[in-house]
Each structure stands twice: as structure tokens, then as C-alpha cells.
Symmetry: C2
Subunit: 331 residues, 2 copies
């Protein structure tokens, strides 16, 4: 079956392009508009629209698009959806990140001769949610990686956000939050404000200090946490807290319990309806994520069953396909 | 009465010099070694030994010493005690800050011809504690300003510290902590995770945003808190939380209650003994400090009665005098 796409310009079967521009890396996938598995995937470096300069982002997008595009078929690409962390979040006045991403994406596609009829830059939560079975228009997506936010979708679009307020005054229950609480409670143990925990010697060691002397543990923890110019780098120590909890450390276990409570609170703020779709994504709530079971326990009572996804790539493809179906339906 | 001082080099009555090098400013006072009120006081700019370069610190110290020293009497200065935030804190490996402060202080004194027999650079908590009536050798000092720490003194020296771990992973109950919680709970109110609070419109206004639209309030709070390169600048908004609590805002009142709980916890970690001296200092726990009543309520049950002091200047003088008495006693 040949598929002409919304504008009918392609000479081969219509193709859709999905892009996931997470802070940890840029991934692209190409697939047939009518369905079926991915035809090609590729990845490149970080794609945070707030920190990667536009020329670099354009270059990286052009590279991944070039790798997944079947030779000689640029005109067959009828629909492109790209999700970027932070793009399209309500309350982000001006949304400069989204405009930048649209420009970079159009330029990258043009280099390969692509001018798709449908092009959309979406929020990372929008493409993650679209990976839910059947690509439903309405429901919830909860992201918990380095940062954390609960989001509500209406008509495939982000309609409301709870938290996602950044490491200093929000992102409650995120990887950064867990790592910071790990250091905080290790310090409380060291100076007698809190119960003993494996986190004190283990974090001190991770920060490069001998763990045998309380004074140097204290020094290592305070300065180790504050040393990097970017406090977000502290989030790299989240897995250490997860391992300590798995090894039976009660303090570390409580941190993970509280993180799950906070993520459930953010979800509750969006007034969930029993049975509505709930997608979870990110290092903590993706498939086999260390908070997935705890979070599932907490939202089960509200009639919610999390559907964890690894990333937003398949959701981006689903949205790109849905746009074609919508165009066909309207046409 | 003429006082020769420990080395008997002075030709006039012996003088002591007390210096308080807080992060907010450098103050100096000169007084007679035998007792009585201050003869002269002076102040200059910030004196944080970890951020002010040594030549600048030396210059500022020389300036305040020059202003308080009676003309023609450099040799009468027999004892000098200077307290600096962070100097002499156990666990601060290397104590580079203390050595720097000693060098800067000696150089500043030498410029005016002073070479006192006794010179000591102390921690800010050590000079604050020495302001207690009778300059007792043992007891507790709790500091709560931009940062927060509880300390135990033995023989006029810092013997143990609880908290004081810095804004990122400690300083629980400090001015920074209160301001951060203020922004955090304002954000929770805005997106439905927490109860409504005056803090949301007031903080948004303080950050320069119109307070009428939830999306722009949210944006203003997140970016306003994160915008300064130094997150500690957020502590400047602590008084706004204090005012909201005074105006009856329940969320702001709870933040202050929790701050007092945390400061009491830090105090409890030092195992207070009923009736022992407890000095409190800093913007939150000094005379008329906004947490003083709440903190007093919490420690009363342990047989403690806080003695709030405005700064460590008089304690520095008391320590400088005690050193002379000690030398005389030993001689």
C-alpha cells in the first residue's frame, strides 16, 4: 500500500519522524505513517533547549535526522513530532525554548530536503503520555528523573502541571531531591541530629573522603555537595541512596518512601479520575524504576494504574501518526 | 590604676581589642583590660574569611583598628580576640580560613605598631557565647541568621557543632531555609499541592511579577528564586515570610514553627544540661528576633533559658580580658 501523506507530495509510502530531545540525549526514529515497527533509530548528545545553543542543537538534530532518513525519500516525511524537556510548559513566559526548538528543527529538516506538512515541537511530558496504549487524548503523565513533575493532558496537549518547579524550590521526590536528602540525613546522623545510616560513610566515600573520622565525613559531605558549580550534579548520587535502601538502610528507605509520597501528592493535585490513563517516565518511574512500586501502591487507591515508558520516542511517533489521521479525517 | 598587661610593655593602662568579623560587616571595639564600657567602636565592610581576599581583609581590619585605637597607645594593646564566621569550626579540614585570618589580623595590627601578647582568632560562635553574663567557659550557643548552627563550648572553645552544614544540605531553620520554604509553599499553593497562602502574591511581587495571573506567579517564583548566581541571596526574603506570619498567614506561621523545631532539634543533638548557659545570636534568635519566643518555648522544658545577644563584639572583649586574667593568674 502506498501512502501519499496529507499533502500527497511523497512518491514512496508516507513516513513519520519522532524525536525525543531529553536532557540526557537526543533520539530519533522513523516509521511508516500507517503503523508498524520503527524503520530506523539514531541518537546524539544532549538536547536541552535551555542550555544547548541553537547552532549546536540544529547540528545535532540534522545528524540524527540524516541517520534515520531512508536515502532518497525526504519528500516522504509527512509528519514530525519532537519533544523537548521544558518546551511548551505553561507559565514559562515567552516560551523562547519552544520557538528556538522549532527553528532548529525546521533548519535541520531542510538540510535533508524535508518539509513535512505537519511539524510540532511538544513538551517531553506530551510525547511521553502519547506512548500510552491507543494514544489517548486525555490523562496524566508523571515524570521523575533528575527533576519531577506531574502533568495533565487534554487533547494530546499539556493542560496543567503540578511541581516541576526546579531543584531549589521544587522537583519534590526527584532524583535531585533524593540525593540532597541523602546528604542531608547523612549529616544529621554524623552530628547526632538523626539516626545512624549507611549513607554517611558511603556518600563520604563517593565524595572522595576517608570514612573513618566523623569530622572528615562531615567536611566531605558539606563540601562534596556544594563543590560542583551546578548543584544538579548532586543528582548523580541518587542511585547510591537507592542501593542503600535495597541493602536495608532504614533512613534511605524512608527517603524513597517520602519521595513516592511527594510524587503522589503532585499527582493528586491534578485531581485524578478513576481509570484514566497514567503514564510514568524517567529514571525513577520508568520500567523497573526504583520508585515505581512505591508510587503504584500510592495511586492504586485513586483507581490509577501507572503505565511506565522508557522514553517519549514511541509517543512522538504516535503523535506524528495521529496528526496525519486527523488531517485525513478533516480532509 | 595603670595596667601593664601580661608582658608589661604598655606605658598607659592596658587595652583590649575585640573584633567581630561577621559576613554582614566587620566591627571593632577597644576597652580597658580591667573592665568598664567600650572606649571606641568602628565598623567596615564584610569580613567573611572564605570569600573576602586576604589583602582586602587586611585592609579592612587595619581601617577599623586604626579608628578605635587611642592615638599614641599601640603598645598598650595587650590582648586581641577576633571572631570570624566559619573560623575554627571542627571538621573544616586544614582550617585555611583561620590561618588566613590570623595573618591578616597580625598584619593589620603591625601597621599601627600593635604586637599584643595575646592574639586569638575565634569562631563567631565562640565570641557570641563569651557575651553570656560572667563569660562562662562551658555551655551552648545557637546561631540563626542566614545560616544556622548549634554549638557546644568547653573552656571558652568550640567543642561540638550540630548543623551549620550550609544552605544546600543543612542550615535547617535558618533565614535561607525560611525563605526557600516560603517560595516552595507558595508554589505548592499555586499549583494545588498545598493550601492557599499570602506568600504566593507577596513573593511574586517581591520578584517583580504581576500577582494576578497564576501562570506568571509560578514563573516569577521559580525563576526569581533561581535567578541570582548565589542562592543564598534568597535569604533576603526571609523577613517577608515573617511579616506574612505576623499578618496571620497560617502557612507562613507553620514555616516559622518548623524552623524553631529544627533549631531546637540541633540544640538537642548537643545533649543540653538543665540550667547551663545558652546564648542565642543572629537575625532570627538575637534580641527581638522573630524566632526567639518560639525557640524559648521549645527549650524551656530542657531547663534552658536563652540569653540573646546582638553580636559577638562584647564577647570578644570578654575573651580578650579573660586571656589577660588567665595570664595574670598563671604568672
Amino acid at each position: 500500500m502506498r501512502h501519499e501523506g496529507p499533502q500527497g507530495r511523497g512518491r514512496g509510502p508516507g513516513l513519520v519522524l519522532g524525536i525525543d530531545g531529553g536532557g540526557s540525549g537526543l533520539r530519533a526514529v522513523v516509521a511508516a505513517v500507517g503503523g508498524g515497527p520503527a524503520l530506523a533509530t539514531a541518537k546524539a548528545g544532549a538536547a536541552n533547549v535551555r542550555s544547548v545553543p541553537e547552532p549546536v542543537l540544529t547540528e545535532r538534530l540534522a545528524r540524527v535526522v540524516g541517520r534515520v532518513l531512508p536515502p532518497g525519500r525526504p519528500a516522504d516525511v509527512v509528519s514530525v513530532v519532537a519533544g523537548f524537556a521544558g518546551a511548551g510548559v505553561p507559565g514559562r513566559a515567552g516560551d523562547g525554548g519552544q520557538r528556538l526548538a522549532v527553528r532548529a528543527l525546521r533548519a535541520a529538516l531542510a538540510r535533508h530536503g524535508c518539509a513535512p506538512a505537519h511539524l510540532r515541537v511538544a513538551a517531553d511530558s506530551e510525547i511521553a503520555f502519547a506512548a500510552a496504549p491507543g494514544c489517548p487524548p486525555d490523562g496524566l503523565a508523571v515524570i521523575a528523573g533528575t527533576g519531577a513533575a506531574a502533568t495533565r493532558m487534554r487533547g494530546h496537549r499539556l493542560a496543567a502541571t503540578a511541581d516541576g518547579c526546579g531543584w531549589l524550590t521544587g522537583d519534590d521526590g526527584s532524583g535531585f531531591w533524593i540525593a540532597r536528602e541523602g546528604v542531608r540525613r547523612a549529616l544529621r546522623a554524623v552530628d547526632g541530629r538523626g539516626p545512624a545510616t549507611l549513607l554517611a560513610p558511603r556518600l563520604a566515600e563517593a565524595f572522595g573522603a576517608p570514612a573513618d573520622d566523623p569530622a572528615s565525613v562531615r567536611f566531605a559531605l558539606v563540601d562534596g555537595a556544594l563543590a560542583p558549580a551546578d548543584p544538579l550534579r548532586l543528582a548523580r548520587h541518587c542511585p547510591l541512596v537507592v542501593r542503600a535502601a535495597a541493602d536495608g538502610d532504614a533512613v534511605a528507605g524512608r527517603i524513597l518512601d517520602e519521595a513516592a509520597d511527594l510524587l503522589a501528592e503532585s499527582t493528586a493535585a491534578l485531581r485524578p479520575r478513576p481509570g484514566e490513563p497514567l503514564v510514568t517516565v524517567g529514571g525513577l518511574l520508568g520500567p523497573r524504576g526504583p520508585l515505581l512500586d512505591r508510587f503504584t501502591d500510592r495511586v492504586r487507591g485513586w483507581g490509577l494504574a501507572p503505565y511506565p515508558v522508557r522514553d517519549g520516542l514511541h509517543g512522538a511517533v504516535a503523535l506524528a501518526r495521529a496528526a496525519c489521521a486527523g488531517a485525513a479525517g478533516r480532509g
